[in-house]
């Protein structure tokens, strides 16, 4: 049986072993960068989706509140107690077109939110503001600025927070992280291409007598290029699998570590199944890139033959 598949003895080249490890490192770096970008983007997305269409009204405790309460005041007065101002604010919000829901956050719930940052010891002594969670109709008819003005005028200590600044920063962070990850992937891809070009050129130089012989015997440029493509594909896939394995261990370890550390502070930092699939596809994409590069390099080199 004709067992042989590659005419060129490329498997004997030492550059091949080097290329396996280069591809492993490249794939590792690309997957870690992509995973980091995906985690940040997902985190920002979950935060944003949690906050979009939501407003928070804070009603601060006032320093002389207790004194004024004793004299008996109205809600519009700075003397009105926090509970009264909260009730007034709720009524105002519920009567505002475009607000679909307005609920006061209970003290217990507020404590639960703050516990991860402050612990339990201080919370009872702190003058916490009252919080009202507001849900806005998605039709956009609510004029948030007008509502904020109205609240500020009507209820002393009330402040409307539409999370815009926070969301802008969050979006910026996620976008920057994605750009950095993309730059890393591009750099890694460029380095991988350079490594393949080097390996293929070395192979062409080492085996130039055989390449020339095949050319003379009537091998098409594609025939010769396919030999290098098959060789590089095998090396890139082997390297890619090593890189993938190492990267998955790293990502899972980081996931575990951040999961433990961020419990309660940050949104879940997991990856979607499609994102896992995308990461698993990185070695395949790297191998395809290597094959295309090998083909291009060989075809360019063969042009010099008569």
């Amino acid at each position: 049986m004709l067992r042989h598949r590659l005419d060129l003895p490329l498997a004997e080249d030492s550059t091949g072993r080097l290329l396996v490890w280069i591809m492993a490192v490249m794939v590792y770096l690309a997957i870690v960068a992509l995973a980091g970008s995906m985690v940040l983007a997902g985190m920002a997305g979950r935060w944003e989706s949690g906050l979009t269409g939501r407003l928070t009204v804070q009603i601060a405790s006032l320093p002389d509140e207790g004194v004024r309460v004793a004299r008996g005041g109205t809600a519009a007065d700075t003397t009105a107690p926090l509970a009264l101002r909260t009730e007034l604010t709720l009524a105002l919000l519920r009567g505002t077109p475009g607000v679909t829901r307005a609920e006061a956050v209970t003290t217990a719930a507020a404590h639960k939110l703050l516990e991860p940052w402050l612990g339990t010891a201080l919370l009872d002594d702190l003058p916490l503001p009252a919080l009202i969670d507001v849900t806005v109709a998605p039709d956009g008819r609510l004029d948030v600025t007008a509502l904020a003005d109205r609240l500020a005028r009507s209820v002393p200590g009330a402040r409307l927070d539409n999370h815009a600044a926070w969301l802008t920063d969050l979006r910026m962070l996620a976008h920057t992280a994605q750009m950095v990850a993309l730059a890393v992937v591009m750099l890694v891809g460029g380095a991988a291409v350079a490594a393949v070009v080097f390996a293929v050129r070395t192979g062409l130089a080492i085996h130039s007598p055989v390449v020339e012989l095949l050319h003379i015997m009537g091998a098409t440029d594609n025939y010769v290029a396919r030999q290098f493509e098959a060789h590089v594909m095998g090396l890139a896939l082997r390297g890619g699998m090593v890189g993938l394995g190492l990267a998955l261990v790293t990502v899972l370890a980081l996931h575990q570590a951040t999961g433990d550390a961020s419990a309660g502070l940050l949104p879940e930092m997991g990856l979607e199944s499609t994102e896992w699939l995308a990461l698993l596809a990185v070695p395949v994409v790297a191998a395809l890139l290597a094959v295309v590069t090998a083909r291009w390099t060989v075809l360019r080199a063969l042009v010099s033959l008569p």
Partner: protein, 249 residues
Amino acid sequence: MIRFEDIGLRYGTGPEVLRHVNFTLTPGSFHFMTGASGAGKSSLLRLMYLGLRPTRGTITLFGRDVASLKRADLPALRRQIGVVFQNFRLLDNLSALDNVALPLRMAGAGEAESREHVVELLDWVGLGEHLDARPPTLSGGQQQRIAIARSVIARPRLLLADEPTGNVDDSIGMRLLYLFEELHKLGTTVVIATHNEGLISRFAHPRLHLDCGILSVIAAGLPLPMNIMAPLALPTGLTSGLALPGCWS
């Protein structure tokens, strides 16, 4: 038909190693190519198997002007040429079987039919017991027979052989030449470069004789003209009047 018209060849900026070469090989013809070492035989063979481009002149191969062909057309043309190289140029990483099957594989032949032909041919050249042997494990003569089998396996229209009997004894040399004769009878144009006058004398074929890059076509059975033989016979220092400048340097 193969036609060389006013072909000249020089390597880089060196002197012309082939000058004003003109000849026509009709389909199915058989020629020996002779000449002293350095006379330009290998260069002329390289031009014939399209391993080089001439510095000037026109090469017509199988009725097509080679210079006018696109690069993509050349592999198909090359596959119609079988070449036996002086140093065999076998692929050491392949078995004898795979080496001989190479031209068929390049032409896209199926493995089953390739194997049948290859085994038959290797058997015929006496290497039926060495199908799986790698060239480095074989003798020079055995390697040469693999090289010859590889050159003829795809039934080329033109067969070029550079000293194909140089490493085999006379009986195997004769056997190989009879193989070339068989191919010739089937219509293959054959050109064999050799120094072996004994073999040449046993076959009535014309010769292309090269002398210092200049080609003469000599009919079968005729002796070499004296002015061609002189440089071969005289010491180097006495040939300057006959040899062209640079020919023996």
